[in-house]
Amino acid sequence: MIESSLSQMGAALRAKKISSVELTQLYLDRIAQLNPELNAYITTRPEATLAQAKAADARIAAGTAEALTGIPFGQKDIFCAKDWLTTCGSKMLHNFVSPYDAHVISQFNNAGAVNLGKTNMDEFAMGSSNETSHYGSVKNPWDKARVPGGSSGGTASAIAARLCAAATGTDTGGSIRQPAALCGISGLKPTYGVVSRYGMIAFASSLDQAGPMGRNAEDLALMLNTMAGFDERDSTSLQRDKEDYARDLNKPLNGLRIGIPKEFFAEGLGSDVAKAVEAAIAEYKKMGAVIVDISLPNTRLSIPVYYVLAPAEASSNLSRFDGVRYGYRAPEYTDLADMYEKSRAQGFGAEVQRRIMIGTYVLSHGYYDAYYLQAQKIRRLIAQDFVEAYKHCDVIMGPTSPSTAFKLGEKGDDPVQMYLSDIYTIAVNLAGLPGMSIPCGFGDNNMPVGLQIIGNYFDEARMLNVAHQYQLATDWHSRAPQGI
C-alpha cells in the first residue's frame, strides 16, 4: 500500500479494502521504527492522529469522503496547527502550542486528511541542508551520512522513506524544489499567491509560498487541488476561479516548446547532474517536445538580490519574537531591553541571527538605497528575463541544484558556499513564478538528481502534465532507497 499513489489509496479506502486507521497505523509504525535515525519528524501525536483516522473512517462509511479523506500526510512544522507544538525548527518556539490552524492545515482537515506529524525543517526555513534546525539535522534516506536538503528537508526525507503518503513544504528560495531533488521525490512551488500564507510562519513574505511534495506529479495535482484557493485572511492571496490541477495530466506533449537557459548549464554545475538532466531533456524530445535555446542573463544576480531582500523581510517579520506574548524568554535579565536582547540571542540560532543582522543592516539609515532599493530594481530585471523567455517557449527546464546531496557538516562553516547552491531556484521566487522538481536519475555515489521545470504564471496544470508524462515514460520517481 505504501507504494500506491494518493488516488489509489483514496480508492482503496473508499472501497473499504483498508481502513484509514489501519493505513495510519502502518505509517505510525514506520515512523516509530525509522524516525529515530532519520529525524524527519519533530512532533508526532499518535492518539490525535488516530482520532482523525477514525473520524475519516466514519466519513467514508457515511459516503461523504473526498479525494484525500483518510490519507495520512506529514505537515511541515512551519504551519500552525491547533493543539500541535509548532516550532518552525527553532528554540524560540520550543513551547509554542498553536491556538489556531493555518489555512493549509484547515484545508487538509476539511478534506478529511490525517495529520501524521510535524516535519523537521531548517530554523525559520533559513537553510539549504536542514542543518540549522534546533531539533537536530535530518538524514537523507538514500545515504544517511548526507543532508536531505532544505529547508523542507524533514518533509523530503519522510516522503523518500515512506513515512507518510505525501507532505507539505514551503519555498522562499528553493525550499521545496532543492530537498525534493536531493531526496529523489517530486515537489511543486505554485505561483506566488495561489496558496494562502495564513498561519504559515513568515520568513520573507513577498517570496514565501506553500506547496505539495510527494512521490509523483499526479499526487501533487491532487494535493494542490486541496491546498490552493482564495483566502481573505492573506492579503496577497489571489482571487481566482477554482481549478482542477489534474485536468491536463494526460495531454500529449507533442509540440511542447521547452526553453533551455544556457546560464543553467554554465560553470558550477556538477557533470553528473548535467548528464542526468540532459538525458531527461532527450527523453522529452522523444515525446515530441521541441527544444529552444534561451537566455536568463541576470541569473547570477539572483543570489545577491535574494540575500538582500529575504533577510530584509525576515528582520522585520522576526521582530515579533520578543519573549513577551509567546515563545522563549531568557531566564535572567535586568530590564526590558535586556530581556528582548537575551531572549532573542538565546532563542534564535546562528543562521537566523546572521540573516536578521544582514536585513537590519541593509534597511538601516544611509544604506537603504544602495542595497534594498537596488535589489528591488534588479528583481524587476530578473522577472523581465522570464517574460522575454516565455515569448519563445512554454516551460523552462534545467537542473534544480548544482550538485546531488552533500555530506552532513560539509558546508557548515561557510554561509557563502551554502547560499551559492541556491543559484537555479531563487530567480523563480523573485519573479513569483511556479517551479517544480522531479527525479530524473542518479549522479555520483548513486544519489538522486532533480529536473527543474519552471512554468509561466498560473501554468501549474501544464507543468504537472509535463511532469506526469515523463513519469509515465520513466521510473525514476518510483525508486526507493535501500532498506526502505
Binding site: 513551547n95 502550542v97 491556538p99 506566488y192 499567491g193 513577498s206 517570496l207 481573505e232 492579503s235 496577497t236 489571489l238 544576480l301 543570489i303 545577491p304 538580490v305 540575500y307 538582500v308 521582530s319 513577551v324 506574548r325 509567546y326 522563549y328 524568554r329 535579565y333 530590564d335 526590558l336 531591553a337 535586556d338 530581556m339 528582548y340 536582547e341 532573542r344 540571542a345 541571527q353 546572521r354 536578521i356 543582522m357 544582514i358 543592516y361 541593509v362 538601516s364 544602495a370 542595497y371 532599493l373 537596488q374 535589489a375 528591488q376 530594481k377 534588479i378 528583481r379 524587476r380 530585471l381 522577472a383 561557510d414 554561509p415 557563502v416 547560499y419 521566487n429 523573485l430 513569483g432
Partner: protein, 95 residues
Amino acid sequence: MSLSTTDVEKVARLARLAMTPAEIETARSQLSGIFGLIEEMQAVDTKGIEPMSHAQDVAQRLREDKVTEFNQREAFQAIAPQVEGGLYLVPQVIE
C-alpha cells in the same frame, strides 16, 4: 566589503540581539563575506527601472469594516511566558 566592529555592534543593537565581543567578531567576518557577494549588485545600471516590491502586480484588497475575530484571550495567554490577571508581564519600564 569589510564591516567594522562598530558597524556590527550597532546592527546587533538595532536588531535587539545580545552579543559578546567574540560573537561580534565572528559576525563581522561572516557578514563581510556575505556583503562581498552582495556588492556584485552595485555594478548593475538600474537607471529608470521601477523597484519591484511584489511578485504580483495587484492592488491591496479592502475588506468590509466589520468584526471578524472573537476574543481568545485565555487561549493566547496560556502560551505566554508570564501573565497575571489577564495582563502580559514585562520588566518595569516606568518609574
